[in-house]
Amino acid sequence: MKTLDVDVVVIGGGSTGVGVVRDVAMRGYSAVLVDRVDLAQGTSGRFHGLLHSGGRYVVSDPNSARECAEENAILTRIQPSAIETTGGMFVCGPDDDPAFGDKFLAGALANSVPATEISVAAALKREPRVNPKITRAISVQDGSVDGWQLVWTAAASAMEYGAKVLTYHKVTRIEREGDTVSAVICHDAKTGEDVRIGCHFVLNCAGAWAGQIAAMAGCHDVEVVPGRGIMVAMNHRLVNTVVNRLIHPSDGDIIVPVHTVCIIGTTDVKAPDPDNLPIPREEVQQMLDAGEVLIPDFRKARAIHAWSGARPLVKDSRVSAADTRHMSRGMGIMDHSERDDLKGLLTISGGKLTTYRLMAEHIVDAMESQLGTKNACRTAEEPCPSPEGTSTTYHVTHRLHDREQDRMADQILCECELLSRRMFTDKLAEQPTGSLDDLRRQLRLGMGPCQGGFCSMRATGVAHEVGTVDIERATGLLRLFLKNRWQGLWPILYGDQVRQTALDNWIFSGTLDVEHLPEGAEVV
């Protein structure tokens, strides 16, 4: 068995885990982060893309509101490439109570969340597709954030400070010596090898899976309730700023412009298993109905993809165990030295992507307090390395600008997302064992209207041509990518996306006969 020795093992490669490993590394500890799959493959990539202004919580959860407002400004400074400063609005629908707006403004003022009421005319001028029957509008500083970029840039910063990031390493066992955690045993899914990581401390940042991890250390009954929410991406940006409904947090109360699409979210249903998150038809209908309130004829726009994510909610005895909507969005740190007489293990649950950095700071503080050490947290001061060395926030026309520069010299593999061959081969060189979906999350391969219709064969061909994958793996990668795209397509298949699917079927089945290729590799 391969062995490693570090101070701290962080389990979970979502936003919490990378925030924690970055903070730990910046405070001078040797650290390794492990995840059973790729970074940000779970909840951190399966949300609506909102960078909270805090407005959503000014009435229901003032503490979260204040934190969101502060962290929004910090993240925009330290991870600009992941963030688009779209701005946002809360609008009062025709049947919503206008008096809620007064509570909203009072809460915003009390919690330092910037918010200004604007006229309905000004709101409609800013977003012409918004329902003209709205009665009030409040402007806030919402943004949109690419969870994958956020996580990868934070991971890059951690690695600059010496942290190791081991993806596709599934934790199989947590060992203890006496009353202290001593090692984490992982199985490397890509090589089939087991790895023993000796350590003094384990930070369990496994999100909706944190209960399963805690149990491996003998700490039972850690209840993290996965709150499942669905999101639907609509083709094009129907709005260019975030549009929220001016009501108490509810299902389908927000539309977020993210990259070339806009996303409506979300539902909140207790999920028994975070590995099995359905996208029920009735919830899709619910999203479309909710969209109609914010944007008339929302249903007639083209839905291109849907997904489901599992919020890691802390079980709170004050609310019903089935009511995940009203469970705290705040974070919970469980110290197992008090709860289970096991030193060197903290379990983290709850929280929001917007406050991931602050949450990491609290967790690492808690770790240091148990260790009896104290180092300053510097994660808010120092920017993370940016992929193209840019220091400006994301703009939706960035890639168009880049392709204007290299259009004669390079090919565009994915026209929907303006992805060049060079961008693809560079990322492939960084992640040669990645699946096309792993590369997709960082490159947006196949995430536009054609949903991989034209680019997936090209990506497969290039990966095979440059020698990174053999033919069995190439065929397996193509099949898996198409299968995974379909998972998010069929629940929202209607309108023009049916027509697109028919064209894609003519390409893959009709012209290329992909289903009759010889077998591909089963594990890719």
Binding site: G453, M457, G461, I471, W490, L493, S509, G510, T511
Partner: protein
């Protein structure tokens, strides 16, 4: 007023219109735009899988169960349809309607089809064949290594081995451009001097007995391009269809449009057909949504060949309702789980369509024909998943020729 109005300019519409015009009818063809043929792979598929690989598509078509269009059409009708297209297109198609062949696809699968353009014929797989697959660095829709490696993993139907290797050429279609479409290459290949340049790069790399596979771009309008390239190389050359727009499909489309025009078919393109006017059980006219108004086209008979979901003739709305967007005809194949988590190509939704009797007259779900003079053909017909079966052209041709014959016979 014409004798017949045909709606749709895909394979079914073009062939039905031409047959009717050659049979002495005055024909107006109305269409929203170019038909789907230009997006196709350019072969005549009759039946490739049912669900196992089919050797004789005409024989296999006869045993397709209801509600497949072939269960309504007789095998004679299938043969007549395919034969008619072969006669109409002359030397643009080769092959035997009762015998499928296997051709390499761009990713290296072996795809069954029936009639093929002569530009593809040298690629028909036989045991021991030695493929040299040629790609261009500036063409992103064909990866010769991928194609070769998958082909080399398979055996020919006779059990013999398949040899395949890849050659990459650094030859742009347009000077200094790294990203050119197959159509740009096909236009470049219309120039004999470009073919000479290609041959001078390629010929030294070829070995004896190799059959040269190229992406389908060996000339767009110059029909001598393929033969010329074979002469220059001294090797047989075949084309491999790429994702759309497909050059072989465009060639077939242009040839069929020319035949239809030669036969006297009048084309009115650029606006979608919308709605029909009926008197009793007869359709009197159909509308076309031209600028500012709906223009009515009256006729004695109507052939409805608008395609399926891919053309926009059928649509599914966000509430799950499937509609014929042109005439609102009763649809067959509804009333079950139309979309499931199963493979995208096999969804029941794509079997939904219009039902017909043996004369190709449109019928409702009880088998009753609401109109005595409305016929349907091609992709709008219910009961088949054409891309999986590799049956699109066969269904289109058999139904178009049957519908035209019904009208010509005064059925």
């Amino acid at each position: 007023m014409t004798d017949v109005v045909v709606i749709g300019s895909g394979l079914a519409g073009l062939v039905a219109a031409t047959k009717l015009a050659l049979g002495g009818k005055s024909v107006t063809l109305i269409s929203k735009g170019l038909g789907g043929l230009q997006l196709s792979q350019g072969t005549i598929d009759v039946l490739g899988y049912a669900p196992g690989r089919v050797a004789d598509p005409i024989a296999a078509a006869a045993s397709m169960p209801a509600p497949h269009p072939y269960s309504v059409l007789s095998s004679d009708a299938v043969r007549a349809g395919v034969t008619y297209a072969a006669e109409l297109l002359g030397d643009r198609l080769v092959g035997d309607p009762s015998h499928n062949v296997l051709l390499p696809t761009a990713v290296g699968a072996l795809r069954p089809t029936c009639l093929v353009p002569p530009e593809m014929a040298a690629g028909i797989v036989t045991g021991g064949i030695q493929y040299a697959l040629v790609g261009f660095r500036q063409l992103k829709d064909f990866y010769p290594q991928l194609c070769a490696a998958n082909l080399a993993r398979q055996t020919a139907p006779d059990g013999g081995p398949i040899y395949a290797r890849a050659i990459s050429l650094d030859l742009p279609a347009v000077a200094d451009m790294a990203d050119s479409s197959a159509l740009a290459y096909a236009r470049a290949m219309d120039d004999p001097s470009y073919r000479q340049k290609l041959a001078s790069l390629l010929k030294p790399q070829l070995a004896e007995h190799e059959v040269v596979g190229m992406p389908a771009l060996v000339g767009y309008r110059d029909r001598t391009a393929h033969r010329h390239l074979e002469e220059l190389l001294g090797h047989p050359v075949f084309e491999i269809p790429l994702p759309p727009p497909g050059v072989p499909g465009m060639r077939l489309n242009e040839a069929l449009v020319a035949e239809a025009k030669k036969a006297g078919v009048r084309f009115v393109s650029g606006a979608k057909a919308v709605g029909l006017v009926a008197e009793g059980d007869r359709v009197v006219s159909v509308g076309q949504a031209t600028a500012g108004r709906i223009r009515q086209y009256t006729a004695d008979a109507f052939v409805y060949a608008p395609g399926g979901f891919e053309s926009g003739a059928l649509t599914l709305d966000s509430y799950g309702t499937v509609t014929d967007t042109v005439f609102g005809l009763p649809l067959h194949g509804l009333g079950q789980d139309l979309i499931t988590a199963d493979a995208p190509a096999d969804q029941a939704l794509f079997r939904v369509g219009v039902g017909v009797d043996k004369d190709m007259r449109v019928v409702d779900t009880t088998g009753h024909a609401p109109y005595s003079n409305l016929y349907a053909a091609g992709g709008i017909l219910a009961g088949a998943i054409r891309w999986t079966e590799k049956s699109g052209e066969g269904i289109a041709l058999a139904s178009a020729v049957t519908a035209a014959d019904s009208i010509l016979k005064g059925a």
